[in-house]
Amino acid sequence: MNPTLPVGADYVRILPEIVLSIFGMAIMVLDPLVDEKKSQQLLGGLGLIGTLAGLVSTWIMAQSPGFAFWNMVQVDGFSVFFHVLVIAIALVLILTSYEYMAVQQLRAGEYYGLILFGLVGMCLMSSAVELVLIFISLEISSISTYILAGFRRRSATSSESSLKYFLLGSFATAFFLYGVAMMFGATGSTNIDAISAALNSGKVPLLAYVAMALMFVGLGFKVAAAPFHIWTPDVYEGAPAPVVGFMSTAPKAAAFAVLLRIIFEANAPGRFWLIWLSAVLSMTLGNVAALVQDNVKRLLAYSSIAHAGYILVAFAAKPELGAPAVMFYTAAYAAMNVGAFAVVSHLANENERYVTLENYAGLGRSSPILAGTLTIFLISLIGIPITGGFFAKFYVFSAALQSNLVWLTIIGVINSAIGAYYYLKIIVVMYMREAREEVPVLPIPLALRAALALTLAATVYLGVVPGRMLTFVQQSAQQLLQAEHTSAREQVGNAAVPRATQ
């Protein structure tokens, strides 16, 4: 490896990150300059434009696939997919936040900037193929989300949420870092390709197993997989509702992207039982605990643990089947969950007063549009046809069964049946129970309408004509896996020569 200066193409390959950073900084700089009353529209609008620019630059980036910055960053179908996914989630988040921030009487300011900075981290996570860079981007994304979680300054639960997330989160990232260090010790490299080559070229040192387990702890925390899920309900309950929709999808998607790279690309050793156990625990604990919740945000928090479990099921499957299933699931889950949280944040009203199940009673009558939209998201979360959730679940379980994971599949389908109950409970409350106290439903502003329309369209699109998306995820998963093998072979060749001369 001879360190040359980065060329133009290198910068194109991190163009979305650059563009998002510029917009993020612009928002920070403008914040003190604009009038507080106008800041909401102005900075929010800037954030919106920033995400749109991010999408455009992702498209530009996609035109020049390859490695950049001394093999630290790799642009392929896989990273493009996750770029688009997390940026789209942020776009919907900003559309939702518009009204939410005004209702909660929160200062816009750095809020939109932090979203964009978080995005930079998440985007980088999906294209980094170097463990240290992954760690750094993980931190960038985490720190932004820690602050976002505490944005309802006047509320104690929000501060608790932020603090808890921060303390436990940094603890978990330390595990990840420790794992990275050990992996370096075991294989002599922090580059995933090189690690893959080292691990597949003979006896796997014990240290690599330990490293793998430690990294899994760190990432397991980020995706809220059991047994590293304890923080989830408290943090989700306290954080601002739109942010929860964001937190439960975008950083998770990025963390899953990293897991995909580490587990499938590097063909990590000793992963099977680790994942199997975590998947079963997540699904079961998440679903069972969700059954007894009466706060909608908590309920959806436990549900997100369960969904992390379903996604982990795919990780236990054969790579060529599991990887596309993971990708599809994260996309479908993002569409439906962000949409559901958009509805929740609209209904929450000032100080998030109305977030219990009881407050949803009679919504079918007082606001048929919101109730209808939420119903479709919930149906999708249950996994009923014509929605993306159904297809995603189907695809995951089909991958698992094709890999002969019969028991895991059976546990999974039983869990999804259990899960049906608590989502149904919300639908039941909305349509079949009369409101006990008058819950004011604000008119739906244009931005929120757009957010709901986008997520709804995505949910139904993925459920009815998922063909294109499936082909895309399969191709990019294949790229991911093949690239691994070919580059691994090259690396073996390169690495073998100096060793032999020594």
Binding site: S398, V413, L424
Partner: protein
């Protein structure tokens, strides 16, 4: 004509849902919505008649097939087609839906728009279940029936409607995930969801590991269908759902939804796992017999009109399962015929129960008595349908039960003997119920002023009465089309039998 033949199933399946979507856009003028739904459902019925008109009677296989790739990987096709079995079930659905619209004309007066949207979407899902030949598509429609039905019960029902809706949803949802697992297993090992492809692969023994997995796959499908039928002891959701559902919900639930279960048993359990079916037949038949007798006995002591009819469904559907698992031509023909006859007569009984509920707001038999005096027309219709349901010769109930019993006798005399008692039981509980409701003096003075049937109600009831009569007098119109399909379904069993004999 050819174009129509290729697309007729798509049209019949999706016109109701398209109508439902259009309803989303129209303003909330209840009368217009009702008329529109009636037109849509009648249009669907009219189109479905094309299926019967153009059918090739002697062809045993699927007709009006359409097979387009829907999603390439996984290999999912939009494959639809009907044979003599499913065609009649489609027709039953399209026949009952306009009647449901008519019967809900006045009884639904709140959230009318949503009601008819749900009803029409439900119709599409139901027709889709019977027409799909791709297992994925089948599961897709199968699950799609859940939400509209649960909402119909939960929003428009009465009494403990929420409890009933959730129970209905969870029972069927939990059971069908096992079917999903089985479907995915088949896909994983065959590489296709196509019913015909999978069937051929299994018959020619190309499926790896099939012999060890077959018992589990059979159970997976069986559980989903048995809960839907419902077979004893999975029936406990049914009385709750029926009693609390609005009239139209009950009609479709009893008339069509239950047949999804028996249709599934016939098409998938028999079609894909003939050996397992034969192997498991004894205990399934036993459960069916228990259902026949138990359902009848429980029906007898119910104080509530709708509960009587609900338990009578448990009993009648027991006949269907018994017929299917007798593996005889008579038994299967009979099972099909009972499905259709039960759909019509029980549908009509629920409509009649709904009519009295609109007037009295009660289903309790104790609140009635002597109703024949104030409501003579109502009493006549009720008697006619009751007799059809009891199985009086020349009405529709008789033919099917007779065929099932003769099939059951061929399979095992004990099945036939015990099953035959079911006919007696049904006469007991239905006629006794009729007597308590209609004969004698008017026991409650307020009942003496009850209004008789209105023209609209008669309009909803006449078709069922005519159908009950025609089916009883000229059953061959139906059986001629059913028979080739049934024979095709039975071929593997003849082979299995000859294999056994050969050994």
């Amino acid at each position: 004509m050819n174009i129509l033949n290729t697309h007729i199933l798509t049209l019949v399946t999706f016109i109701p849902a398209a109508g439902g979507l259009l309803l989303l856009l129209v303003p909330r003028r209840d009368r217009d919505i009702r008329i529109f739904s009636l037109i849509v459902s009648l249009l669907t019925f009219g189109l479905s008649l094309h299926l019967v008109a153009r059918v090739h009677r002697m062809l045993p296989g699927f007709q009006y097939e359409i097979d387009r790739a829907w999603i390439s990987t996984p290999n999912i096709h939009y494959h639809m087609g009907v044979d003599g079995i499913s065609m009649w079930l489609v027709l039953l659905t399209t026949f009952l839906t306009p009647l449901c619209v008519l019967i809900s004309w006045n009884s639904i007066h709140e959230r009318v728009k949503e009601f008819f949207i749900l009803l029409l979407v439900l119709e599409t899902a139901l027709i889709g279940v019977f027409t799909s030949l791709d297992l994925f598509l089948f599961y897709f429609f199968w699950e799609s029936t859940l939400i509209p039905m649960a909402l119909l019960i939960g929003i428009y029902g009465h009494g403990r409607k929420v409890y009933a809706a959730v129970k209905f949803f969870l029972y069927t949802m939990v059971a069908s995930v096992f079917m999903l697992a089985a479907v995915i297993w088949l896909y994983a090992h065959v590489g296709s969801f196509d019913f015909v492809t999978i069937q051929n692969a299994i018959r020619t023994g190309q499926v790896e590991g099939f012999s060890t997995a077959a018992p589990w796959l059979f159970i997976g499908f069986f559980l989903a269908f048995a809960v839907k039928v419902p077979l004893f002891p999975f029936h406990t959701w049914l009385p709750d759902a029926h009693v609390e559902a609005p009239t139209a919900g009950s009609v479709l639930l009893a008339g069509v939804l239950l047949k999804m279960g028996t249709y599934g048993l016939l098409r998938f359990n028999l079609g894909l796992f003939p050996e397992q079916s034969r192997h498991n037949a004894p205990w399934i038949c036993t459960l069916a017999l228990v259902g026949i007798v138990y359902g009848a006995l429980v029906a007898m002591v119910q104080p509530n009109l709708k509960r009587v009819i609900a338990y009578s469904s448990v009993s009648h559907l027991g006949f269907v399962v018994l017929g299917i698992f007798s593996f005889t031509q008579a038994g299967l023909n009979g099972a099909m015929f009972v499905m259709l006859a039960h759909g019509i007569s029980t549908g009509a009984l629920f409509m009649l129960a709904g009519i009295i509920f609109e007037r009295k707001h009660s289903y309790e038999i104790a609140d009635m008595g002597g109703l024949a005096t104030p409501m003579p027309k109502y009493a006549t219709f009720f008697l006619f349908i009751t007799l059809a349901s009891v199985g009086l010769p020349l009405l529709n109930g008789f033919v099917g039960e007779f065929l099932v019993l003769s099939g059951a006798f061929q399979a095992n005399p004990w099945y036939g003997t015990i099953g035959a008692t079911g006919v007696i039981w049904s006469a007991c509980y239905l006629l006794w119920m009729y007597q308590r409701v209609f004969f004698g003096k008017v026991t409650h003075p307020e009942n003496s002023t009850l209004a008789d049937l209105s023209a609209r109600e008669q309009l909803a009831l006449w078709p069922t009465a005519v159908a009950a009569l025609v089916m009883g007098v000229a059953p061959l119109l139906w059986l001629n089309i059913i028979d080739p399909a049934v024979q095709a379904a039975l071929t593997p069993f003849a082979q299995v039998a000859s294999k056994v004999v050969g050994q």
